[in-house]
């Protein structure tokens, strides 16, 4: 069985923990609990008859002034940068993190524009957004609350990782 370490990063409160919870346990809670340090979860998915075990590292949300916790990223097979479509700065922060990561790590990256169940409330235009999306290997509009695109995102990422390791 193949195991893959996947890190979820992003500003605090964008819904990293909620995405993982929705994916692993199919549960959503409105209650906000901030993650301290790191929390690890796992879920196995089956891709074309092969099982892939995803180790999901839910890393404490960063703000602009917080030193980036790079130590947790070692050995990761992929990163998911989570942003909140109701908060414009969360995208900037996400792009900052992405830029930082690109300097040291070469692995697939995913952009998850979360809270798609809520009305979009940021000033980014379609083109700007697409430009940002193009920086990533994959991008999704997800909702941890409704589960929209959550399963798809993880499955497609797993599939991509599997292809890479076959190559």
């Amino acid at each position: 069985m193949i195991q893959k370490k996947i890190c979820l990063l992003g500003a605090s409160g964008v819904g990293k923990t909620s995405l993982i919870r929705q994916f692993v346990e199919s549960i959503f809670s409105d209650k906000y609990l901030t993650t301290i340090g790191v929390k690890v979860d796992k879920k196995s998915v089956e891709i074309n008859g092969q099982e892939v075990k995803l180790m999901l590292w839910d890393i404490e949300g960063n703000d602009r002034y917080h030193m980036f916790q790079e130590k947790y990223l070692r050995g990761a097979s992929a990163y998911i940068i989570v942003v909140d479509q109701t908060r414009s700065p969360s995208l900037i922060e996400g792009i900052d993190i992405h830029t930082l990561l690109q300097q040291n790590h070469d692995c697939p990256t995913v952009l998850a524009i979360n809270k798609s169940d809520l009305t979009e409330n940021w000033h980014w235009g379609e083109k700007e957004l697409n430009d940002y999306k193009s920086l990533f290997d994959l991008s999704y509009h997800t909702s941890a609350k409704t589960g929209d695109n959550v399963e798809t995102m993880f499955s497609e990422l797993a599939e991509r990782l599997l292809q890479e390791s076959v190559q």
């Binding site: 893959k4 130590k71 050995g75």
Partner: protein, 597 residues
Amino acid sequence: MSDAPTEPSDSSADELQLEQLRNILLGEGNQQITDTVRANARELVAEVVTEAIKDRQTGDGSIDKVLMPIVESSVDASVSSRSDKLVSSLYPLVGSLVRKSVSAFLTDFMEKTNQLLENSFTLKGLKWRIQAWQSSVSFAQYVASQTFVYRVEHVLLIHRETGLLLKSVDLDQQSRGDADLISSMLSAINDFVGDSFASDTDELKQDLNTITTDNFSLLIKTGPQAMIVAAVSGNPPQTLADHLQVTLESIHSLYDKELRQYEGDSEAFENTEQELRRCLMSEQKPEAQSRSPWMAWVLVGALLLIAGYASYRWWHSYSVAQTLRTIDQNPGILITSIERGDTTELHLLRDPDALPIAHWLEQRKLQSEPITIIERPYISLDPAMVRLRAARALKQYPQLEHFWEDKRLHLNGALSPYQKQQLWRDLRAMGVAVDSNIDQRQLVVQAAGQAMLPRDQERQLFDSTRSKVNAMQLDFDKGSSELNEEMLAILEQLTLQIKQLKHSADSLGLQFGLLIIGVSDNTGSKIANANLSQQRALSAQQALIELGIPEQNMYTSGLGQINISAVGQASRKVLFNVLYIQPNTQPSEESPEEGTP
């Protein structure tokens, strides 16, 4: 001096020439040698391969680690492709393997049951249960912490960089917590600690070595590519840490490539299981090992004591019963049954005149034994009992003398007819066979009121005895002086009478003698008949001497033939006559002789 500058160039030229020579001889890049060695490689390696493998295995034991996965995969391949061959090779082994495994299972089962019993039903077990509940850990875990100095419960091999679990082994196959998550979190924590406490970047990264809780420790050994983590209950010794370190190093050296190129596929590390299992070490607390099974000893002791006491009781009651059986030897006591139990029950029949049982028990010192006597009275015909009773009956008749000869009661004295009737009835009731077993020839029965003076009675007895003797005679066969059985019986009878006569004569102050007269019939010559008659008298005398009559009290005479026509034909006899005198008077008128004795 001029040579001096050229020296370096000379030497480099030499070097060059040497190199060229080397190339010619050995070929480019030692090609010649390599080719030669390669050509003979097979023979060369074959010569040393066994020794080399042995040396390496002795040196660092790495051969088996390398061989194990190869052998395993070969067996695997053999099982899947040529299973029938493998089955036929293994067939003879399977039976014993199954037996071994069953017996191992049973032993393990017994041990576990025993442990469970021990821990569940002893005071210690109860105490442990309460303490386990108080510290909210499972009972099994608590027992382990109390029984072992330390015990490795779980060993994890973790990829250093990704924090992914490569392989884990458990002591009891049931994992506590999720090994994958533990691995990731541990490496996260390790990274956190390492980065947080490193004072500057040049310094070597700090690594976690131990994480300790109240009764659990995580021993962590970190290598460049992997870490090994042992979850230990109790106090792990340094040797365990050393062992983990050695194992980690060995894994690094054997799986270096796999570790470096790890991309999430842990299958390559399946073969580390053996080595990781060797890390599941433990040490029992010495007291737990050396404790003596005192409960069992007490139980065995108690059982032995009970068995000993029971057999003593059995033996004692057996010997008491044996002793009791001898009570039967007492006249008038008959045992009907003996029942042995807590108390011995003795059922018996007892003549009222027999020895009292309590008295007998006292003689045998059995009075304190738990013996119940169930006694039923009966009348015993045992001679001793009969005599005892007869003596009691005869006490009422002081004038009677009596003695027993064999089973016959001899009575001597006088009774009135009524008294006799009375006595006879009493004796019969007491078991004396009055008709056959009483000799009453010396008994005088007189009508009441004619009571005689004792001397007169004696005289009467003397006279009656004397007349009995006088009436006796022996009948011989023709021409014979031999005594036959019948005659001997008469002579015996005669002897008794003579003894009685002697007794009476003594008390009356009389003296007496016995005249024995032989006669013959009148056939044949007179002289022969005279001799024959004399011979007959002598035969009778001789027999009486043998029966105890003194010779000097007898006189024999042969009369020869009796010429009385009426009886002369059959007078082949010996006749007896008693002669007596009162010493101060004349001889008795009955005496046929002229002379006095």
